[in-house]
């Protein structure tokens, strides 16, 4: 008997309703997500909350585009890019995707390390164990049943909602900050904005979601349900982000803005839970990290192999699909090994990975937009003007921010004293 048959009935109903869209959104709150939102709250209080509504909009728009492309064509994103733009373009994009996803895999192993270091488990024990577990979980085909556990464990995010309420934050300020954009040339600020977008609308999600929609055999006929599920997933995900930021703003920033550099700092936000704060934070972070670490290397290996025309699939033997297995194993091994380098700054690297995501995102978006507006491919299912306006605006804004980020970082390097000072009053 399978695990799902033993669950209480309401939970079973829940799991039959959820599909690729919801799962993708849940994986999206990985170690990178948790730390980026925590950092945003701890360093800038409620100030960055205004980014969430536009991010939510962008998230829904991109995810819906992917689900639609998958349902209409029955092809994955990398397949479509290959067929429409040729091998060289696909190769370049895949190379970038591998780099970005490798940093994400690394970020999630760093998440494992930092979650367990709270309990004094050495990263030299936790990370190799986690890497081996993830590898076997997927290759031996037991991942499907474990996915349900990962999903259920996502309820630990509710801890942030409770913490945010108990800690009695300034709801008026947070409501106001959610609709009032604040701009700053501070590189740390720009970097966090790019990171927030990058972690919420991560490039790997576009490939993963579309592949999952195709895999599930969703067609145009049952696409309407899929769309609802995608939207619900995105809303839940953004709500979690909102409460993490608020909890960190009230729990950390109101006592003086500071940069989070360790899991101990980040767990402070859950202080209302007293001695259980560490446990809750650690459990949530560990689950999120393992969940994403199981999906990311696999999704990357699939995207790359499909785009470049190599055989792929965990049901194939090593000899049949060597590129697939090497890439998959390589991503896990390298991602885990980097974290073990002595003195590796876990939290800083996790945040940096999200910035890499944010920089790659507009380029993935450009390809998606050209595909989804191709009537030969999508027939009557091309984008509406509303969608195109939002998506192209995001592309322009994101590229603009990347340029600003680059400029700000360069200025920081050459004129360290010219850093703009922004007011940080609680």
């Amino acid at each position: 008997m399978r695990l799902i048959d033993r669950l209480p009935r309401p939970l079973v109903v829940f799991f039959t309703v959820i599909g690729p869209g919801f799962i993708t959104a849940m994986v999206d709150n990985d170690a990178g997500g948790i730390y980026t939102y925590s950092q945003a709250g701890a360093m800038f209080g409620y100030m960055l909350l205004w980014t969430l509504p536009p991010i939510a909009l962008l998230l829904v728009v991109t995810q819906e585009m992917n689900a639609r492309m998958g349902a209409v064509t029955g092809k994955g994103l990398s397949d479509l890019i290959r067929e429409e733009f040729g091998l060289r373009t696909t190769f370049g994009l895949m190379a970038l995707l591998v780099v970005a996803n490798l940093t994400n895999v690394m970020a999630n192993f760093a998440g494992v390390a930092s979650a367990l270091e709270l309990f004094r488990v050495s990263r030299y024990v936790s990370v190799p164990l986690a890497a081996a577990a993830v590898w076997f979980l997927v290759v031996k085909g037991t991942y499907d049943s474990v996915e349900k556990i990962f999903l259920m464990a996502c309820v630990t995010y509710i801890a942030y909602v409770i913490a945010a309420v108990l800690i009695n934050p300034d709801w008026e300020a947070s409501a106001l900050a959610s609709v009032r954009p604040v701009f700053s040339w501070d590189p740390a600020y720009v970097m966090l904005v790019v990171g927030l977008v990058g972690t919420s609308v991560a490039p790997w999600m576009q490939f993963y979601l579309q592949a999952a929609v195709v895999e599930k055999g969703i067609t145009v006929k049952d696409y309407a349900e899929s769309r609802i599920e995608v939207i619900v997933g995105c809303v839940v995900m953004i709500a979690v982000a909102f409460f993490i930021i608020v909890a960190c703003a009230a729990g950390i920033w109101s006592h003086g803005p500071r940069e989070i550099t360790s899991a101990t700092d980040a767990a402070t936000a859950l202080r209302p839970f007293g001695e259980y704060a560490y446990l809750l934070f650690s459990a949530g972070l560990l689950n999120a990290s393992l969940f994403a670490a199981s999906i990311l290397p696999l999704s990357t290996a699939y995207s790359v192999c499909e785009g470049l025309g190599f055989e792929s699939g965990v049901n194939k033997r090593f000899r049949e699909a060597p590129v697939f297995y090497w890439l998959y194993t390589g991503l896990i091994v390298v991602g885990a090994a980097v974290v073990l380098v002595p003195g590796f700054p876990l939290v800083r690297m996790i945040l940096l990975a999200q910035v890499v995501n944010g920089i790659l995102l507009p380029f993935v978006l450009i390809f998606m937009l050209r595909l989804v507006n191709n009537a030969g491919l999508m027939r009557e299912w091309t984008n509406s003007r509303f969608y195109n306006v939002i998506a192209w605006t995001a592309v322009v804004v994101l590229i603009g921010m990347t340029v600003i980020l680059l400029g700000a970082t360069l200025r920081e390097m050459y004129f360290p004293n010219a850093r703009a000072v922004i007011e940080l009053t609680p």
């Binding site: 209409v72 029955g74 067929e83 091998l87 060289r88 190769f91 055999g217 025309g309 190599f310």
Partner: protein, 415 residues
């Protein structure tokens, strides 16, 4: 690497010169006219300064890595031709089915054989290249000199599919006809393997395969497709009469399962097109709950009168030869069609044709299950009594169908 080979990546962008050696333009594509010749490149598309020209194969004088020389420069302007397959546009980067390796592959490059035909050079399509070598070749082409690329390639193991095993996926049925794409090569693949291939294809790829291949093979393949939802989606994408042909070839229990999964309007349209006898069988099964013995069973079985002889039973078997693939038992029924016994077919072969059936079957009660029984009960009985075929009876005890062990295995795997 033999020097009489040429790759599409090398051909693309190759310089074309006229009789006097003046440059006319570069190669933009190569076209095959399958109705004229299955392997010889029929036309070369030359991109000039303003537009594209067609260079017919007999206008070419020589082809080499240094370029193409024409012997007749009366070129016609290019217009899209429905009778030709453009190598770069229609084949490169697209998925095709490799009938020999039984898998879906993506075309990275195409290998031509360079042949001297009398006084001019011709290109014959030899292989479709997949795998690492062709990926690297394409990435390097145009960046490094062609001869250096060729030297580098020697180090990487080749991976190519002979042209005759390549099955092109063309969604437009009219174009399939014009390009002579019959997908006959797929019909020799085992239906279970073909089902795996089909599951990897896009929606229109699946449609193309099921529209083109023989309906009997299509039915067997569809039965092997893992998920009933996918099966239903495939049938829904086809014309109702084509879908009816395929459903008619399927065993009634499987046909009923697929139709039950479809929307009512589509399944009715298919039933409408089916032949009367098959239609009644399937409709009867559609009436049962999917999760009951009635939903699992097949209404095709062989029943002999209990008073008959072995010769009678064998005659009935011969008259129903279409069931022979799944035949394991002959069931005995009384005058009212009530089940009274069951005989393994093998037993019939061991005794004299004149022997009576009833004593052969023995006096033991035959294990059966009512149509309304839950499917878990069916699995239990099959497991407990080690049955290959479990008869299903109605309220009056009349035999109405048979659940075979493979139905039970598929059911257990789906749960």
């Amino acid at each position: 690497m033999a020097s009489n080979l040429l790759f599409l990546t090398e051909l693309m962008g190759m310089r074309v010169c006229d009789v006097k050696g003046r440059r006319l333009g570069r190669i933009r594509d190569a076209c095959l006219a399958p109705r004229v010749d299955k392997v010889r490149i029929d036309q070369f598309l030359v991109g000039g300064e303003w537009n594209w020209w067609i260079a017919r194969h007999d206008q070419i004088s020589s082809i080499s890595l240094d370029g193409i020389r024409l012997r007749d420069e009366q070129l016609v302007p290019y217009h899209d031709d429905v009778w030709t397959l453009r190598m770069a546009r229609d084949l490169l980067d697209k998925q095709i089915i490799d009938a020999k390796g039984r898998k879906v592959v993506r075309v990275n490059d195409i290998t031509f054989e360079l042949n001297r035909a009398g006084d001019h050079d011709e290109l014959w399509v030899l292989e479709v290249d997949v795998g690492m070598r062709s990926v690297v070749r394409r990435l390097c082409q145009g960046i490094l000199p062609p001869r250096l690329v060729r030297r580098l390639m020697v180090r990487i193991a080749p991976n190519s599919i002979p042209w005759e095993f390549c099955n092109i996926i063309e969604p437009d049925p009219q174009r399939r006809l014009r390009l002579n794409i019959d997908l006959k090569g797929l019909e020799d693949i085992h239906p279970a393997d073909l089902a795996d291939i089909v599951e990897e294809l896009s929606h229109e790829g699946r449609e193309a395969v099921f529209e083109t291949i023989d309906s009997e093979v299509a039915a067997e393949t569809l039965s092997e497709v893992e998920d009933t939802k996918t099966q239903a989606a495939i049938l829904e994408s086809l014309d109702a009469d084509r879908a009816a042909d395929i459903v008619g070839e399927m065993s009634p229990d499987e046909a009923a399962d697929v139709l039950a999964e479809m929307e009512e309007s589509s399944s009715e349209a298919i039933l409408e097109e089916m032949e009367a006898e098959e239609k009644t069988d399937v409709e009867e099964l559609l009436g049962f709950d999917e999760k009951s013995a009635g939903g699992l069973m097949n209404s095709e079985f062989i029943a002999a009168p209990e008073g008959g002889t072995v010769a009678d039973a064998l005659r009935i078997v011969r008259e129903n030869e279409e069931h022979v693939d799944t035949l394991t038992h002959v069931f005995l029924v009384d005058g009212d069609g009530r089940l009274t016994g069951s005989l393994p077919v093998g037993r019939l072969l061991l005794v004299e044709p004149t022997a009576l059936l009833k004593p052969l079957a023995g006096a033991d009660d035959v294990v059966s299950v009512p149509v309304a029984a839950r499917h878990t009960r069916v699995a239990e009985l099959v497991d407990k009594y080690n049955l290959m075929a479990l008869p299903v009876v109605d309220e009056a005890g009349a035999l109405v169908g048979v659940v075979t062990a493979d139905d039970v295995i598929s059911m257990l795997r789906q749960d």
